[in-house]
């Protein structure tokens, strides 16, 4: 699944580690989600959406 996580993170000048700390996950998790190698669970997707104050479908794109 494609997503805008890397762009949203870059807009805030956060490193993957910064985002990982804010989400309470490992840096590998952030990397795997950004590169589309791992689709997060719904609870984690909600945490990401809450952090960026966006809806899930704005961050995670179909296709």
């Amino acid at each position: 699944m494609n997503n805008r996580l890397k762009v949203l993170r870059a807009e805030r000048n956060w490193s993957q580690q910064d985002l990982a700390v804010r989400l309470g996950v490992s840096r590998q998790s952030v990397n795997a989600i950004e590169t589309g190698k791992y689709d997060p669970s719904l609870p984690l997707a909600f945490r990401i959406a809450d952090l960026f104050e966006l809806s899930i479908e704005t961050i995670f794109l179909r296709g």
Partner: protein, 137 residues
Amino acid sequence: MLTRNPAYQMYNRRIAVASVLYVAAVFAASSVLHHRAPVSPLAIGVALVPGIAVSLMIYAMARLMLELDDEYLRLLEVRKALIATALTLAACSAWGLLEIFTAVPALPVFWVFPLWCVGLFAGALFNRLTLGKGGGL
């Protein structure tokens, strides 16, 4: 393991304790019992003591799965365990068939767990190859 998740620290601690117990138990058993000692309750009891340490290692692995609060890291561990299980089942089944139909030496079942642990490493390699740097190792 790239991340220092507290669950990994507990896992390493448990495995270290179990490993020390295992070496001590094997050393103690081999000093008390000779190879292929006659079967007796005492001999069976002494010979099974190292098995307690092996059980502790398996317990440590199970606890790691339960205590990892990072869903992606847990996925990596589950994938490793699945690869290890698949390789162990395939290797043992294939060798079992060879034992039935040919004159190859019997594989002591003692080796099943070490073989599974080697499979974990193969699983880690699989994670690395399929998931890149985020796959661990």
